[in-house]
């Protein structure tokens, strides 16, 4: 698997953890352990996004990620154009 797909998989993993903790916290807002886990994964996710974006352009638009030098937001491939090989 190429570097880009490996980086995407890592972000997907972290983001999935964040989504799942987010939903759990919605109904368990007092759970301090879940909150600590959420904040830890949010930190790591932010770092992973920044690394990815420096290589392949913004993951987020509307001002949430900068686009240095050129407007890279519209660059292909878009998410539905990226498939992952079976062996990956």
């Amino acid at each position: 698997m190429d570097q880009r797909r490996q980086d995407l998989l890592r972000i997907m993993e972290l983001e999935f953890t964040a989504i799942d903790l987010n939903l759990f916290l919605d109904t368990h807002p007092q759970d301090q352990r879940a909150l600590a886990d959420y904040n830890a994964v949010a930190q790591e996710l932010m770092r992973a996004r920044m690394t990815y974006e420096s290589r392949y352009g913004p993951l987020l638009n509307y001002g949430l990620s900068p686009s240095a030098d050129t407007w890279r937001w519209i660059e292909e491939p878009w998410p539905w154009e990226i498939t992952f090989d079976r062996e990956d």
């Binding site: 797909r5 989504i19 799942d20 939903l23 919605d26 638009n61 992952f84």
Partner: protein
């Protein structure tokens, strides 16, 4: 406000053109228990929820369902994009092709278009969350049927992920229902 993130929630693997499987899976795009219905149901029910947990759960699950809609769309897109006319006819996707070519459209497996009558927004929070719990079970069951119908292991893997999320959503809605009951008891409202 919503923000688009340029990444799928789950990686997709597709072995090759498979319009027959696309024809079945598209029901989770625009069918009665599909992701569009789920997302719109939750995102419209949230406005009349009386407690913050319910507003949060409906907003966040409704948003995650949009991401699932994109995963399903990406599977269908990749299953039909290189399919030949011959394969499309043999798969029985020719009627769909006549109206949509290989584009994505909101239909169920039999080709019926999406309709707002698939969903309800009752205003009664207990009734709405019960509907949502039933919706999650129906979506889970649909993914199980699709897993039985799948002959592509990569697609099956994504369907298993989506099925598992419905189980988690059901759990969160169940907790929301309990919180709503507690809230209404405190307010001495009869239900």
């Amino acid at each position: 406000m919503w923000v688009y993130e340029k990444i799928l929630e789950y990686p997709i693997r597709v072995s090759g053109p498979n319009p027959r499987l696309a024809k079945d899976i598209i029901t989770q795009y625009g069918g009665p228990d599909g992701e569009l219905a789920a997302s719109l149901r939750y995102l419209t029910q949230r406005y009349s929820m009386p407690i913050p947990q319910a507003k949060g759960v409906l907003t966040d699950i409704g948003t995650e369902e949009l991401a699932h809609m994109e995963v399903v769309a990406s599977l269908v897109y990749n299953l039909i994009k290189d399919a030949s006319i011959d394969e499309i006819i043999r798969a029985g996707l020719d009627a769909y092709y006549a109206d949509h070519d290989r584009a994505l459209y909101f239909v169920n497996a039999a080709g019926a278009p999406w309709t707002a009558t698939y969903i309800q927004s009752k205003g009664d929070p207990i009734a709405d969350i019960h509907e949502d719990m039933a919706a999650e079970q129906k979506a889970r069951a649909t993914y199980e049927y699709l897993i039985q119908l799948s002959d592509d292991p990569g697609v099956t893997d994504a369907l298993r992920f989506l099925r598992e999320r419905e189980v988690v959503h059901f759990q969160r809605f169940g907790e929301t229902l309990n919180l709503l009951h507690e809230h209404m008891e405190r307010r001495r409202v009869f239900y």
